[in-house]
Every structure is written in C-alpha cells, then in structure tokens.
Symmetry: D2
Subunit: 343 residues, 4 copies
C-alpha cells in the first residue's frame, strides 16, 4: 500500500511516520506540512532518519490511503476530495467523529465543509466498530480521551450493570496538547504541577456521550473532566458510575462477576488487556494497548474502572494504523507489535 | 515557645523544621530520629544549614509543644506521655484523627495505645475546628488528601446543596509516599507515568467520611480514589456530587450562586482562596494555601470542585504550624507567609 | 524604599515581585509589562495574590530604585533615564555587564544606547564587588551561568593555583530560557531529554572571561558549554582546570589545602557555602545560596569544582535584591532568608 | 538461536527481554532472577505480556547464548561455566571489561573468579572490535558511560588530532542507577535536581582510559565526572580536549576537516550518526543509536564533542544484542531497527 500523511509536522503525524516506517505492508510515499515544506522529514524529526522523504505542500503521488493529522475543518476540506475519488481516508481530526452535524458545528464553532459525508464516516474505535471500519473508505479516528474512556465503560454499559450516567476523570500527558506553542505546553508552567481544564465542556465530551449512548441504546449522561499531567505521553481514565441495584452479586463475588463481564467483552481483542491490578500509563508507553482494570467500590456500590493508553498510539496514530490494517484486510496487529518501553 | 519534633527525618518532619526555622515566635530545641541519631540536622538535610541541632533519640529538653511525624501507633505511643504531662501535642500521624477506636483499629490494623485520649483529640482542620483547636492540647493534624477534599466539599455540604454522597479523585505528588524506599517512590518507576492505587480503600477515606458526615449531620458516602502523579509536591482533589434538584438556580445563575456559597464560607479565612479559574497545584508550591474552584457541570447538574494544596505544607507541616499558632493564641499566619515558588 | 520593576511578566520579574513581597524594608509600588498592561499582578501570577498592584506601561510613581528585567537594549534604554535622574538601578539584563562596548555590540548584535554609562556600571557579583556595588547607582546584575561559574573558580584563580584557562560545563533548568514560547521551552520537547546548545559561543561566555580575567590580572581562556536539563530551576556548573605544578601538595593533602583556599575566600560570605560533598541543585531551590564543592582529580592533577545555584534567585532576582540591600546599606540578607524548598 | 538471560529482573535484563521478544532469529527460552523466581515474567514486568516464561533460579534449558545482567563477580561466576562448555556469553556486567586483573580487583574490590578468562574476553564496543567479537565466545559488553564517551573520542584520538588527554562530563538518566532502591533513585530526591557524583573516581573511568589508550597506542589521561539527570533514560557525554597545534586548519575549515574525520571513521556504521547539530538524548530514546556532534571551540582551540545514547539500549541491552548478531553472523541490525520514541 502506498500511504500519504497530511500534516506530518505535529505529534500525531510524526508518530504515524514512525509507526509506518516499520510497517511491512505500507510504504510511506508522501508527507505534507506547510510550515516545513521544502525540508526533508529527518531535518525536522531527527528520529525519522530512516525516512528520506521531502515535506511537501500537497500530496501529488498516487496513494491508496491518506491519513490526515490536520486541524479540524482543514482536515475535512483536505480529506473530502481524496475520499470522493476513492482513496481511503483515516482522519485523525475530529471532523467526522460526530454523527450530528449541528452538534459538530456547535462544539467546533465552524461550518462543516462536507456534511454529506458524515453519514459515510465510521467512528474508528476498532474494537466497537470493526466490521464497519472494514467496509468503509472514511474512518474517523477517535479522540485520545474518548478511546480510553469508551473502552473502559462500554462493557459495563453493554452488560446493563450501569446506566450510561458516568463520570470520567481524564489525566493526560502534555503531548496531547500538541506540538504547538502556548502556556499550556510551556515546560516551566506545566512541570511539577497538575490541573483540571475545560471544566465547562471539553470537545471530547460529545464523542464519549455519542458512543456510550449507542452502546446503551439510550442517551448518555457524561461528566468529563480532563487534567494535564506533567509527563509527555499517556492517558489514564478514571471512571465512576453507580451500579444498578442487584445487577451483580454483592461483595467480592460482584467484583469477580464484573471481571468476567470485561473478560468476555474483550476476549478476542489483541490490544485490550483486562488486568488484575491498576495499570500504570507507563505499561503502554509506545504501544497500541489499552489496559483496563475494572472493580467495585464495595462501600458505595460504585463501579470504578481505570484504563491506560498511550495517547499518541492507541489514542491517535496506532489506532489509525490498526484501522488501516482492518480496511485493507491485513492482520490487525501488523506493524503494531512493539512492546511498551519500560522503564 | 520551645518546640520539639519527633521524627524529623521524614518529609513532614523536615518540612516542619524548615518552617519553624523562620517562625518568629517558636524556637526549635530538640529533634529526634532514631535512624540518624548522632548526626547534626544539616548533615542529613543540607537545606537546613541554619539549624545546628543534633538529632537525638528522645526529647530530653523542656518543650512547650511537640510535633510528631512518627508512623502511626509509634506516634500515639510517643505523644500520649507528652500530652498527659501538659505539653501541647500536634500529631501529624493518623493516630488521633478518627473518633471511633474500632474504625481506627480496623483501618490501621493495630491496637490503639491510648484509646482514652481519642475523645480529647481535636481534628485539626483549622478552618472547620478553630475554636476546638484553640482550646485543645492534643490536635490530630489531618491527612493530606482529606485536607484538600474536605475543604473542597464542606461548603456545599454545609449549604445543603448536595448530599454527603461524593466522589473524590485525588492526585498526589510522590512526596506524599514519604522518604522511605520502595517501588512506589523509585524514580524510574513513577516518572512519566500515572496510576491509581488503593482502589479497594485508602486509609484517608474514613477521615473524609467522618468530617463530611459531621458537617452534614448525617452519614457520608464517599468514593475516594487516589492517584500518583510524577511530581514531587502537590495534591489536586477533583470532587463530584449530584446537586440536589432545585437547590440552586439553573444555568449560569446557579454557578454564581455556588460561588457565593463558597465565598461566604471562606470569607474570613486567610489560607483558603476561592478562585475563578481551575487552580494549578503549582500555585501552592511551598505555601499553606488551599485554592478552590467550584463550578457546575450544567449538562448533568453535577457539582464539580477542584482544590489544590501543597501536601507537605497545608497537607502536613504548614497546617500543623497553623494549629500551633491557634493553640498559642498567635496570629494564625505567623511564620506561614511564604508565597508559592513559581515557576 | 519604594521600588519599581520594569517588565514584571517574565520569570526574573515575577521572582523579584515574590521576594520583595516579603522584604521588610522595600515597598513595591509599580510594575510594568506591556503585554499584560491593564491587568492586576495576581491575575497574571496567582501566586502573588498578596500584591494588589496593576501592571502598567511605564513607571509613573516616585521610586528609590528600579529593577529592570527587560530584554537587552530595551533594558538599557529604559534604565538610562532613571539612572541619570538619580534613581538607583539594578539591571538584570546584560546591557551593563561587559566593560567593552565593542565586545557588547559584537555579542548582542545591537548598538548600545548608553555606551557612556558602561564605565559607571558595576558588575554586581556581590561577593567580588561589594564595595563598588555599595558606592554605585547602576548595578549590572550578573547572568545566571556566570554567577555559578565565577564563584566556583574565583578562589582558585585568585590563589594562583590555576591559570585562568578553564572549562565550564553548565547545566541549567528550563526556566533559564524564560517565559517566552519556543521549541526550547516546549514541555514535550525538553522533558526526558538533555542536550548541549550554543556550542559555538553563548552570550554568557564574555562575562565569565571578563571576571576571571580581572581576578587573575591576565586574559582568561574559557570554554563554556551550556546544557538544558529537564527541571524548572537550578544551575550546576562543573568546572575543570589544570593545577599549576607544585601549587598544592600532592594527594589528599592537596585536596585539604584546596578546601582551605575556598574556605578562606568565602569565610565571611553569608550566601556562599563551601561543602564537603557534591551539592544537589535542589539544595538551593528558592534560596539565594551558591553551594560549592572543590576537589582535585588526583589521577590527572586537574581541579574539579562544582557549584549549585537557583538560577532565578542567586542567578537573577535574589542577587538583585542582595545588591539592593548593599546599595542601601541594609543587612545583606534582608528579605533573603528563605531556606531551600526540599524535597 | 536459543537464548537465556541471567538476572532478568533489573533494567538491563528486562530491556534484553523486550528487545529479544521481537528478534526474528532469537528465541528466549530461559530467564533467571532469584528474588522473583517462581513468578511469570509478565507478572513482574506487565509490558512483557507477550512473553509467558517463568522466572527460574538457574538456566536448565539448552541454550546457544547466555546474556548476563548479574552484578559484578556474581556475573563472572555464572558466566565462566557456560563459556567453558561452549555456550556463547555476552556479559553486561563489568567482570570481563578490563584487561588488567589487578586493575579490576582494585576498582571493584573483589577477587576475580576466573582471571584466566580475561584474555579470552573481547571488549564488545562493536564499532571498535567487530572482528574480535565475531570470533569470540566471551564478549564483555561495555559500560553505558564508556560507550558514549569512547565513541565520541575515538575518531579524534585515532586521527592524532588530540592526545588521549581528555575530560568527559557525563550526564545520565536515573535508570542507569538500576532498579534497586536507594536515595539516589528516590523520586523526590532526584526529581528537579542535578548533581555530580563519584568525583573521586567512577568505575567506568578505567574502561574509558583502557580503550582510548588502545586507540592511541599510548596511555590515556582521562578526567571523568558523571552527573545524575532527572530523566529516566539517556546519556549525554560532553567531551573536551586540546587540539594538537596544527593538526587541523584554523577556523571554520578546521571544523569541516574535523567533521570529515568523524564521517570517515563512522562511514559504514549503521548505529553511529555524525550529525550537524548538538543531539538531544531524546533522539535515541529506545533505539540503538549513538548520535555524535563534533566541533571546535575556536576561541580556545579545544575539541568539543557531544554524544547521545540510550543507556539501556546502545549502553547495555541493545549493544549486547548487536554483539550477539555479530557473533552469530547475522545482519548487525537484526531486531534493532526500532526508531526512537518521540516525543
């Protein structure tokens, strides 16, 4: 497969290039990035020294699939024409994630350039929508927070042991804020500090609500509070919900039954691990795993689930490649077998 | 005042020594620490070069007040005799925090050496129990997590806008795990990683329940999940609770009313700041403040409150000195006026 | 004393405001900062909540001393008029540090706006130039790297045990790069990484050469290589020089003699500590100390000296206040007694 | 090839397991680790979930090669018998690195258990000793600091443009101190701090001297000062030496000639990159590269070279696998193609 990346110069884009460099079936043939156009890829990213591609303004080569890591709106504008002429598209931006055009336009404050394509698009949380992804030419790669939160909660919602009325306390490394400059990425401001942000509504909220609602078959009610953590990569999602009375046995038997629900849900999944101890985000550093620990606060009968991902891999570029593999009928783990870098 | 510190060699103890070194009314006259007994204080802690005290095994000098930073049980054993002979005691350990002896013994797995003193002891969250602290000779200094969580939620509970049925997602720097050695304090294990721990019940939970229950006049129901953050100091407490229907006006007016509740509650407090933006823990680095941001998730009518403290100052040594000031009738901020170190 | 700060909105400026807030003899009456003019100081810096000053464009109030934390050239332009009308000036920028106007213009690439004032200015490394500072109305506060490097090497140069032919390997926290935005301060770029920079010549080099040359009475030959360390504050200067043959006894006796040289040199200094173990920069976090460990590599007869400072305190704002104290005849440590924040 | 690892439970051992898990020609069949014997590998290291091996006390299986990550002395004791019965050995400990038995015994303070094997052993800095490694059954894998320092200086020494009289200022991440517990790996002690250590002589010094001496054909004179940096992985080696007068053209032409020396020396090397900007250690995070930037301080005619490696990969486990590949006649990069994880 010949692959192009739109906007390789951010962290999602460069992470795509890194993963694709060792993908046995994909050949990266073109990368764009207006601010750095004219340079070679390795001049901007020395760690990509094996990839001697120029950064160009637009993809001119013939490609089988395009990944877009452009900002929202610009991404849809660039992806639409590729999709229309039959090139497969995985859009890492938010442009095709929400099913509702008005909801998109309200949250993102822009007019959607291709609203007619939104129903063609598949929400590419692979574990939930694998068959649709396989059949689709336009995959909306999920946001980083939603990936961790939805995978943490879907089994419980699906099993009906909770209502889709949940609290998600998200904790993200700083790379989630991108490669752009600002006080939220300034080392001396974020180091040795933790804080909540977007407490009046983060753009990843409607994705979480949409997908949990779909799983539940009813509208979801989600409180989502993101936090910035002084580390580069990783998202930990701490999720809380009241158990439906009687849905599970009481005491330790309930915890065992809960684990069974999760184990069943993810039995055939290669990238989701249900574990017996709270995961460290470090267990996912650089790999495509989502590691989940579900349990019950027995004093209050609340479900508490913690999930860990690498926000740039399973939360962005890795899941994008996972979706590409599904779209092209490849084994899903192709090019994604790296183990976490520890310590 | 002549002051002694029991177990100066941990982080709470050395922080007490640091604060007391610049306290105009207190004179540190004796410090203990069995593992380092025989050394001078500055040999173990070069930053305390101004304090040329030897570390001894037991306090032999006459003192007006003793701070204990010993581990639980050992602390009560050491503090009891001081208190009984009229020396004022601020115990930073957990030994006198809980009102219920059986609850203490269940959570801490030891027999209390002085159960008869537990009713003499005052829970030293100064803002809630100032008058009792002033009248007491035995103050149980609150845990670090409870300090942040209770201050964040007490105004809402007191005002009756929520039931004492809450979720506290705590995020602590690594110094909260102490100066002892273990994989939870090993740099390479905790750096660049975040994780939850003690999900089946942390020892700070019963303190939070006890105090919120006292404020509410009814039993509290608390889910508390602590997290380890790759930073040295600071605790952010993210708190969630359902608003009682009709307790506040809807929409932005509700948020304004909520802020009024908090402003009223803390109007006369020198160390609690109610702010208009989510605080960074860095805003409290090295000072005795608790900075609180209360708001409402208008989509779900949930109260969301975030508070920030320095776990070693307001969460330990600073609050201990604040309590000492109250016990001796000094202006409460004496020796505690340092501003946060930024950045 | 009434004090003004020019450009309070960077790290040196805000650190000055923090230190002055607790200075018993100084009253901060005016702060400037064009980008944030119109806001209150605590709106930009929540940790300065005790200081309810507006940020203005220009100092209009009558002041006894002005600190300038403006960028070079702009600083001289602003300081010149104050000095000329008799207001004392401590300039934290580089504008008045070099004795040679051509050297300044070569290194900084600008024309000096007040070359005629350069000979009035005193290089404010207090320990070396105390008497001149006391007599001066225009003090050039040293750069952060030079402060650590010169204090580390001056005793050996003065004693004639080395020639002024030295290597300084500097290691600085990120706050040294300022509050401005750029890839060198982007969290995800500098976290978990270390690198050298300015290997073809850093602007702090001529300061080090000038001052060591003055101490030696001959031209100095200095290789200075700065490095960026993933921490917020602190500079460690690792210094290397060949001992003059026979200048010291051989073996351990030489090390003892060397320590005597350093102890003698700094015997009466309150802020310089000669210690018996390599210092951690953390030992100076938030205080005005310079901690120095001199020793000899006995295998090669090289002097090796390590010094630690907080780049924003002894390396900038703290030394500026120290100089102010000297200029006004106050005890030198006034307002500067804070102990290091540990851990 | 069937592979065993002695002492998999430290960082070098677990990193070997991680690399070998994706090595196409090697099969890990046995791992030892006394403190954790009886557990499965993934129970101790969740990131190694793909490797379902038990941790045993001793290697019982038939193996073609053994890697030892045991402490010194214990390592030689364990490796000796394997080597004697024809199993190839790569020893990551220091036991076979030094050619001189007395020097080993002086630096390590123990008697060597197999002194007769020291002349069989090859110092496995692959780039310098490839042919010997290929012919050997006993490879002493270099220390982490020596790997970076020797690769940085060997071309200049070989070319005769400097004498082997050098200063190496080493800066290492904390993982270099291992997985053991101590104050030097305690998060709150090392975070936000930098310091020098072992200033009276670090055990890696004689390795550097030995190898630079071999390259030069004369005894080397080395000052080596290691520093602990608050990051997990990475070593930056900043090297200083006086250029021999006339050895290179003056000015920029000299720098160009110097780069030519380095480019020539490493022209055919896959893992050594000579670059045109000072490298960040982050450029080597998780990969087997050594990235080198040589230049000249034109003001003092000193050679200044900076090299970056990942201390656990090129500085330990990666180079060990590189040596294994050479010993078995495999392409040298087999299993080592991972790109650096950025950011």
């Amino acid at each position: 497969m010949k692959v192009g990346i739109l906007n390789v110069t951010g962290y999602a884009g460069s992470e795509l290039a890194r993963i694709l460099a060792n993908h046995p079936e994909a050949e990266l043939v073109s990368v764009t990035g207006r601010s750095e156009a004219g340079k070679r890829l390795f001049e901007v990213f020395p760690h990509l020294h094996a990839t001697d591609l120029p950064i160009v303004e637009d993809i001119e080569e013939s490609v089988d699939i395009v990944f877009s890591a452009l900002p929202h709106k610009a991404s849809a504008e660039a992806c639409g024409p590729f999709y229309k002429r039959g090139v497969k598209v995985v859009d890492i931006s938010a442009d095709f994630r929400l099913k509702s055009v008005p909801e998109y336009e309200e949250w993102y404050g822009v007019q959607h350039p291709f609203p007619e394509l939104m129903e063609d698009a598949v929400y590419g949380l692979t574990e939930l929508h694998r068959a649709e992804v396989a059949a689709s030419g336009l995959v909306a790669n999920p946001g980083c927070y939603p990936t961790g939160a939805i995978l943490a909660l879907a089994p419980a919602v699906k099993a009906g042991i909770i209502d889709p009325d949940v609290i998600v306390d998200g904790k993200s490394g700083v790379s989630g804020a991108g490669r752009g400059l600002g006080m939220t990425t300034h080392y001396s401001e974020v180091n040795e500090s933790v804080r909540a942000y977007s407490m009046d509504g983060h753009r990843h909220l409607p994705e979480i609500s949409q997908e949990l609602g779909l799983v539940a078959g009813q509208e979801a009610r989600v409180t989502f509070m993101p936090h910035l953590i002084p580390m580069t990569r990783g998202i930990l999602s701490s999720c809380y919900a009241s158990l439906k009375p009687g849905a599970l046995p009481s005491g330790q038997a309930g915890i065992a039954a809960l684990r069974e629900v999760y184990n069943d849900f993810y039995r055939d999944e290669g990238f989701v691990k249900v574990v017996a101890q709270p995961p460290h985000t470090k267990h996912t550093l650089g790999n495509n795993d989502c590691v989940i620990y579900p349990t019950i606060d027995l004093r209050t009968d609340r479900l508490t689930v913690v999930s860990a991902i690498d926000n740039l891999v399973k939360g962005a570029a890795g899941q994008a490649v996972q979706n590409m593999n599904v779209m092209f009928g490849l084994p899903e783990a192709t090019g994604l077998q790296a183990l976490a870098l520890y310590p």
